[in-house]
Amino acid sequence: MTRRFWMTGAAVCAAALAVPGAAQQQTGAQAGNFRLNDQDGKVVELGKFRGKTVVLEWHNPECPFVRKHYDSGNMQKTQAAAQAQGAVWLTINSAAPGKQGYQSFASAKTLVAKDGIKASHYLLDSKGVVGRGYAAKTTPQMVIIDPAGVLVYQGGIDDKASSKKEDIPNARNHVLAALGEMKAGKPVSVKETRSYGCSVKYDGVS
């Protein structure tokens, strides 16, 4: 029992260490490193992308707010634009097993193909460690990390908090705007916004 106890303890500590700060990431500071499996079971580590811009997107395929941006093609368009600029796009699913939107390796692969998700990797965070470490509260929720590993933007995908596709053309896409500014060598003007959408379906009742 004691052996198992200590092993579990060590595992918990390791998980906590994986995301320094383990509560919230500060805009303008180094983004916490993490390691997750993608849809192919491949280990993906944030720190390995140093030198490139990285976009994180929290995802739940069944959330109506996520559907707004996928069914309209808005998110895929943003993903393609980011990648055309040389950025790495990591879509992260922090839903716990049994909760809405949870994906296994197999279902995630099907989902990426079906929705035409143009992410570099679809990452599975079913324990919610990375989601909580980045204080991801909603789907969608976005984070941009610059080539030096500094977090330069966190918040919503755009400034029209609604579930209606019709609002997309009139909205400011915060990710495209920030990427554009970064490409032009300018500082990101809007660094933090309020994200909107469904709650991230973490494990646990309360």
């Binding site: 069944e62 509260k137 909603t138 959408g197 709650s199 991230v200 646990g204």
Partner: protein, 686 residues
């Protein structure tokens, strides 16, 4: 995996069950309907419309600020030319924490209210079509569904009549809205925490307090909130968001429990820390208040336990035991083990006594007699207890004698020492009674943790000298001899006890007036007589406890009879102005009599109101001036958001209290300033 499978089956069953319903009503999980308070609103006047929301079981809708996730509703009106719609009014929300994410929601039926202002000059009988497009998010703990509805309501310009049914319905909805606080609130951000200071009279009662910010970026929604009351200030302290320092103001609603809430706008400013912690978070989240109580009660109990050692019946046991230790000499390890065993025995018995007492207390509160210091009966019992203890210490009577000190000391070995300790604490109870009694009294009114600490401290204090003797051999020879000095010391100890009784008598006087205090002192005197008589019998060799029965019966009668409400003149209904309760009918009747009328509206939670009442209204000079001019006074209490009063206040262009009106006969009322002075009031009645 059987679980997801079962879920799918259930989902299909649920869909099938819902199908006939879906045919008739729009498929929303929150059923919405638009209702007008009056179907025949008057031109140039306002009419209130409600979007009534009925969430299905397990579903919830969102407040204007949804919290960590979710989305507030949006409303778009299509109105006849010239008509305007006010902002949506939201009922006070409640919290729903799901997997660490905070949601500000409504789980039961609720309604958004809107004030529509119609243009003047519309002919009666004109048909008006008012349409609303509303979007809202319906969620369970698992899923969210964006829902929307288009509603239109045909209204005919008329006299603004409201049916009794609609009136009742809308009054209930209005009562659920947040009321304006009416005073300036502040907040202070420092070191990652934000503290809101909200003026609230110390006399206002509150339930579970939660601050709901409308302004995003001020607080971490899911962080626990520590609520304190500090006189006329209620403070809410919680984790600040990083951007909180840059805000100019934080708007929000402070919920005071049971659907009661006050809307406010807080601006940056100093907010004092400290105060009494309220609510559930007190134990776990912020322990400093409780820690101080615990440390204080433990310290006092330890001191009390130490004093117990020089009580005439305990000291001989101790000194005999110490002598035997000194004689045993040699093996220091055995001596130490005995000292520890003795300590364990004493502390365990004391804690067991405490647990037994707390069990009794829990049983008592279960059947309805809670021990509260606000209850004068509890104060009277404590007064009698301390008086009895003081009489005992001063030597008026004895609590039985102990003759088995020798036998106790005769025990040998570690287990012997443990039982010696246990017996010293337990069998010596009659003698240790005075201090046990004080601990008992304190334990009855303190929180459980503090009560247990008191008993543990008492035990540790009692065992401490012996523990020292065990570990410091040099002390054993220095031990003072038992003698007459112990008796004198006991008499001296009665002085602080009498002082305590005096203090309690004063509290009793504050709570139930001069009559109550006199009754209490009479009970104490009766007790003194009975105990004195008992002491006489004891010194004559008799027992005489029976003599206490009639005295105790008389005392019990006094405890029952003690007045429970303070007899303070100003606080009685009506006050010195002989104010009557407000009603529109009474106001009309008084005006018909041709009398000038001063009407004021107040609420228990309104600090400005209470300050005005104390400094400007409830004054003898004002009362005299009003009396001289036959000014009638009506007071409306809006504490519970009475709908009739709410409507009356609104017709005078205000949204909340305080409101002061002065009616001269035959003239429109004069609205007086919100900050009143007695001079201003007296100037009215000339």
């Amino acid at each position: 995996m059987p679980m997801p499978f079962l879920r799918y089956v259930l989902m299909i069953v649920a869909c099938l069950a819902a199908m006939p319903l879906m045919a008739q009503t729009p498929p929303t999980h929150i059923a919405a309907s638009l209702i007008a308070e009056s179907d025949t609103p008057a031109a140039g006047k306002t009419v209130t419309l409600a979007l009534a929301m009925k969430p299905a079981k397990t579903w919830h809708g969102y407040w204007a600020n949804p919290g960590d996730a979710g989305l507030g509703p949006t409303f778009k009106w299509t109105l006849p030319a010239g008509a305007t719609a006010g902002e949506a009014q939201f009922p006070v929300p409640h919290t729903l924490l799901i997997a660490g994410l905070m949601n500000y929601v409504y789980e039961g039926d609720y309604a958004h209210l809107f004030t529509i202002t119609l243009p003047a000059g519309l002919a009666a009988g004109t048909k008006l079509t008012i349409a609303l497009e509303a979007d809202w998010l319906a969620c369970t703990a698992e899923v969210c569904v964006p829902e929307s509805g288009t509603f239109s309501i045909p209204l005919i310009v008329g006299n603004g009549a409201v049916t009794a049914m609609r009136k009742g319905q809308f009054d209930r909805w209005r009562a659920a809205l947040a009321k304006p606080l009416g005073s300036a609130a502040h907040y202070q951000v420092s070191g990652g925490t934000i503290r809101f200071g909200i003026p609230l009279p110390a006399s206002a009662t509150v339930g579970k307090v939660t601050f709901f910010p409308l302004t995003d970026g001020a607080i971490d929604y899911a962080a626990p909130q520590i609520v304190r009351r500090n006189g006329d200030l209620l403070t809410v302290e919680t984790k600040a968001k990083g951007s909180a320092g840059e805000l100019k103001a934080v708007e929000g609603v402070i919920s005071l429990g049971e659907g009661m809430g006050l809307s406010l706008s807080a601006t940056p400013g100093a907010v004092p820390a400290g105060g009494t912690i309220l609510g559930e978070t007190a134990g776990a989240q912020s322990s400093d208040g409780l820690a101080v109580t615990l440390a204080l009660s433990f310290g006092a109990a330890l001191l009390g336990g130490l004093l117990l050692n020089i009580m005439p019946c305990v000291f001989p046991i101790l000194s005999l035991k110490a002598l035997s230790l000194a004689k045993a000499g040699g093996d220091e390890r055995t001596v130490r083990r005995e000292a520890l065993a003795y300590t364990a025995g004493v502390v365990l018995v004391c804690v067991a006594l405490g647990v037994a007492l707390l069990a009794l207390r829990a049983g008592g509160s279960a059947v309805g007699w809670a021990f509260q210091l606000q209850d004068p009966r509890v104060i009277l019992i404590l007064l009698l207890l301390t008086s009895a203890i003081a009489f005992n210490l001063s030597g008026l009577f004895e609590l039985g004698t102990l003759s088995f000190g020798n036998r106790l000391a005769a025990h040998k070995g570690t287990s012997g020492a443990f039982w010696t300790g246990a017996l010293a604490a337990f069998i010596a109870t009659p003698c240790t009674g005075p201090f046990m009694g004080a601990a008992l009294g304190a334990a009855l009114v303190l929180p459980t943790a503090a009560a247990i600490t008191i008993f543990a401290g008492l035990g540790l204090g009692l065992a401490l000298p012996f523990l020292l003797l065990g570990f410091v051999p040099a002390l054993r020879r220095r031990l003072p001899k038992p003698g007459a000095w112990m008796d004198s010391f006991r008499r001296i100890l009665s002085i602080p006890m009498f002082l305590t009784a005096l203090g309690l008598a004063w509290i009793l006087g504050r709570q139930s007036g001069v009559n109550g205090m006199t009754l209490g002192l009479m009970a104490a005197l009766l007790l003194g007589f009975a105990l004195w008589w008992l002491g006489r019998r004891q010194s004559a060799g008799g027992r005489g406890w029976i003599a206490l029965i009639p005295a105790l019966a008389a005392i019990a009668a006094i405890i029952v009879a003690i007045p429970r409400t303070p007899a303070m003149a100003q606080e009685t209904a009506g006050g010195m102005l002989a104010a009557e309760a407000f009603s529109a009918q009474r106001l009309a009747a008084l005006q018909a009599e041709g009398r000038p009328v001063f009407v004021y509206f107040t609420a228990d939670w309104c600090l400005t109101c209470k300050v005005n009442e104390k400094t400007a209204i409830e004054r003898e000079d004002v009362a005299a001036a009003f009396k001289g001019k036959q000014v009638a006074v009506l007071v409306g209490d809006w504490t519970d958001g009475d709908a009739e009063i709410g409507r009356f206040i609104e017709t005078h262009g205000r949204s909340g209290v305080p409101l002061y009106l002065y009616y001269r006969s035959g003239a429109a009322p004069e609205i007086l300033p919100q900050v009143l002075t007695a001079e201003r009031l007296m100037a009215l009645a000339v």
